[in-house]
């Protein structure tokens, strides 16, 4: 494709990306450098059904005036990035000098909200992505071999987990794994422990979330693999059959190498998606034990108080950096393959 054609072809989506993704990211970055203006407090008399008393309240006039002078808030530089709710430099420094062993240091580190969330996010990413790729491939291979009349309904059944909205899917499972739910009581029966509850321990909650993640993401891998399977050239396969290659050997030496770039693509998308995990945490009411970076952003914007734009902006920036770091190896690999193919 000539560069000119490519440019005009790409221009509309490029413009949309700049407007709806690029600019918001820049604006979040600027917001993350600021904190709210100082709140001016005053003592006033408050009366309610339980009586009157003097209490503190925000002086709205004075604070609004400050806000109008500095609509973005006070400039805080990278202060928000370094505070306890984000990278927590001071706390880490203190922990490093005060802790006697690596284990103690890790304990303190993983008790800080950002690192706690990062640990879960990364665990989720790396526990979910490989099984999704493997399962998606196996399902695609199996569906590819069944008779045509059954294919339609089977494919529909397989992609159902993806069709179901994540929040609904996780809520349905949430009730099923309840101590009184069908899966929950079955597990209690299986292990003969009436107090076993998937929701009460952090490890079991993590495992539940990961299994949910695999269940929800496999259809995506399946769809891509299934489409790619249709492009596998028939000639080498027929030649291999004549040479007496078994089914396993055909898959191992012809199909898998052919699908390699597709697998890279799926890994890329899955890592990116799973790094932003949010809905299952809400659906499973797992905020207490499993927090992700996206959940931190959500929590800053939906806390009981004023929205913490600066804090949410900082976490967003750190998430973007995280995704970039995570994807670098895969991107480098793709780039190399692209170069050699040329």
């Amino acid at each position: 494709m000539p560069h000119r054609t490519f440019f005009w072809f790409f221009f509309p989506s490029g413009l949309a990306m700049l407007l709806f993704i690029g600019l918001p990211i820049i604006s979040s970055f600027f917001q993350s450098l600021h904190i709210e203006p100082e709140q001016i407090l005053m003592e006033v008399e408050k009366c309610d059904p339980f009586g009157c008393k003097t209490e503190t309240k925000v002086d709205i006039e004075a604070t609004t005036k400050l806000q109008e002078e500095q609509p973005l808030g006070r400039f805080n530089g990278l202060g928000t990035y370094g505070d306890r709710n984000h990278l927590a430099f001071d706390e880490i420094k203190e922990a490093w000098t005060n802790s006697s062993s690596i284990a103690e240091f890790t304990d303190i580190l993983l008790n800080l909200p950002f690192y706690k969330a990062l640990l879960f996010t990364l665990t989720f990413c790396f526990a979910v992505t490989p099984p999704v790729v493997v399962l998606g491939f196996i399902v695609a291979l199996s569906v590819n071999t069944i008779t045509k009349s059954l294919k339609g309904p089977t494919i529909f059944g397989v992609i159902l987990p993806m069709i179901v909205t994540p929040l609904i899917g996780s809520l349905v499972l949430f009730w099923m794994i309840d101590a009184k739910g069908i899966l929950g009581s079955f597990i209690q029966f299986l292990f003969d422990d009436p107090n076993l509850s998937l929701k009460s321990s952090s490890q079991l909650t993590w495992i539940t979330l990961i299994i949910y993640g695999i269940w929800h993401n496999t259809p995506f891998a399946f769809v891509v693999f299934y489409a790619a399977l249709q492009t596998v050239p028939q000639d080498p396969i027929e030649a291999a059959i004549i040479d007496g290659a078994s089914r396993y050997e055909r898959v191992r030496h012809i199909v898998i190498p052919h699908l390699y770039p597709v697998a890279t693509f799926i890994i890329l998308i899955c890592l990116m998606d799973n790094f932003r995990v949010l809905e299952p945490i809400i659906g499973f009411a797992a905020e207490g034990v499993a927090q992700s970076l996206s959940w931190m952003i959500y929590n800053d914007l939906r806390s009981e108080n004023k929205m913490l734009f600066g804090s949410a902006g900082a976490t967003s920036m750190l998430t973007i950096i995280g995704v970039a770091i995570l994807l670098t190896p895969v991107l480098i690999r793709t780039w190399r393959e692209f170069r050699t193919e040329r």
């Binding site: 309840d178 107090n195 929701k199 009981e304 108080n305």
Partner: protein, 411 residues
């Protein structure tokens, strides 16, 4: 002739109702959009608001247990997503901080002749909200179970635990106690109750400097821990509505939830045997204190600043109509404690009145209280799961609060 007479009479009655010119009901202009919490008493109240607004009104209400998390975003927009919000002494401060609800003095002067003085929430001389009910968390128990085992109604939390352990040992129930321990706002509220019950103060007087990491805080946390040990192992996922379901399924013999829960627990739906066995008791004290470990709440409504005067007036009229409806209050005497003129309290009002008499404090209406509540909501989980000491959990609460309060400009 008879029909004519009725028609005439009808006209006469309706005109006389409007004769004052300032009857709140029958709204025709402006739209009414209300954001409210989700529980049965609010449903009853909203039905009355809707009927007061009348069939011609543009009326909608959104019930959500996440109302506190939605309110700031929804009311900050201009025009705001909602014209009115049902508020409590907990949630009003957040709206006041950002100037998101408007003074109601002129509207009260125009329509509010039926309001009682204690319904007016006056801050710095201006009316910012109109209260219609009072609420508090207190103890509920199953009479037959306590009687069978010869347990007296617990009046302290120490007795609650002893009673729960006795019920557990008898084999009647595996997890006899329930409270709303869901991580998030509910869990924070449990700590607030228990800490106040121990006589604690959240802030250094007159400042936004937090102080919960002390002996009283540790005692409060340890008491919560002991309560969770006699609760359903899923306690961290159970909010008030989930606890009520546990109660109605007969899995629980003691619980500490809202007085307004009576509206759904004592209605004609569900297991009538359990309903007949359900009793209300005062909120227990704790740690040898005399104050009950609970907080007093009022529920009322505020009108959005960022909405047109027309919508504000329409919303105010409809809500005021319900907030002064003696008829609604007396038709549902047990739904809550109405603050409405002419209401004669039902038999469920006792525990709230008792809490007020024994010196329970109203939930603190401080501008930075919700930040502390938010920090409590997330930082106490690890302690309750046994992964962290009480001191560490409270130190985390303080640190999380300081980071947020600094960003918000309170410190």
């Amino acid at each position: 002739m008879k029909k004519l007479l009725i028609a005439l009479l009808f006209t006469f009655v309706t005109t006389s109702a409007y004769a004052g010119g300032h009857s709140p009901c029958g709204v025709t202009d402006g739209s009414i959009k209300i954001l409210a919490n989700e529980f049965t008493t609010y449903r009853i109240f909203m039905d009355e608001v809707k009927s007061c607004a009348g069939p011609d009104a543009d009326f909608s209400v959104t019930h959500s247990v996440d109302h506190n998390k939605l309110q700031v975003a929804a009311l900050s927009a201009n025009p705001a997503e909602f014209s009115a919000k049902l508020v409590t002494n907990g949630s009003i401060t957040t709206l006041m901080n950002d100037n998101l609800i408007r003074p109601l003095d002129d509207l009260v002067a125009k329509y509010g002749s039926a309001l009682q003085d204690n319904q007016k929430i006056v801050i710095d001389g201006k009316i910012y909200a109109v209260a219609f009910m009072a609420n508090a968390q207190h103890l509920w128990y199953r009479e037959s179970i306590l009687n069978d085992l010869g347990i007296a109604v617990p009046s302290t939390y120490e007795e609650v635990i002893a009673a729960a352990e006795k019920i557990k040992a008898s084999g009647k129930m595996a997890n006899p106690y329930a409270g709303a321990f869901k991580s998030g706002w509910n869990l924070g509220q449990e700590f607030v109750n228990m800490y106040l019950g121990h006589g604690g103060d959240f802030f250094k007087a007159g400042t936004a400097e937090v102080s919960v990491n002390n002996a009283k805080g540790v005692a409060a946390l340890n008491m919560l821990k002991r309560l969770t040990e006699v609760s359903n192992p899923d306690f961290l996922t159970q909010d008030t509505n989930a606890v009520k379901e546990e109660w109605e399924s007969g899995n629980v013999a003691l619980m500490h939830i809202w007085n307004s829960g009576a509206a759904s627990l004592l209605d004609d739906e569900g297991d009538q045997a359990i309903k007949a066995d359900t009793r209300l008791a005062p909120s227990p004290s704790v740690g040898g204190g005399s104050k009950p470990a609970t907080t007093l709440w009022w529920d009322g409504f505020g009108i959005a600043t960022n909405t047109s005067d027309e919508n504000a007036e329409a919303s105010f009229r409809a809500l005021l109509g319900a907030a002064t409806s003696t008829e609604m209050a007396n038709a549902n005497p047990n739904a809550t404690i109405w603050l409405i003129d002419g209401y004669s309290p039902g038999d469920t009002a006792g525990p709230v009145v008792d809490a007020a008499n024994r010196g329970a404090t109203p939930y603190p209406s401080l501008p930075y209280m919700s930040l502390l509540h938010g920090a409590l909501s997330t930082e106490l989980v690890e302690f309750l799961q046994g992964n962290e000491s009480a001191e560490k959990a409270l130190a985390d609460v303080e640190a999380a609060y300081v980071a947020k309060a600094t960003e918000q400009g309170f410190l």
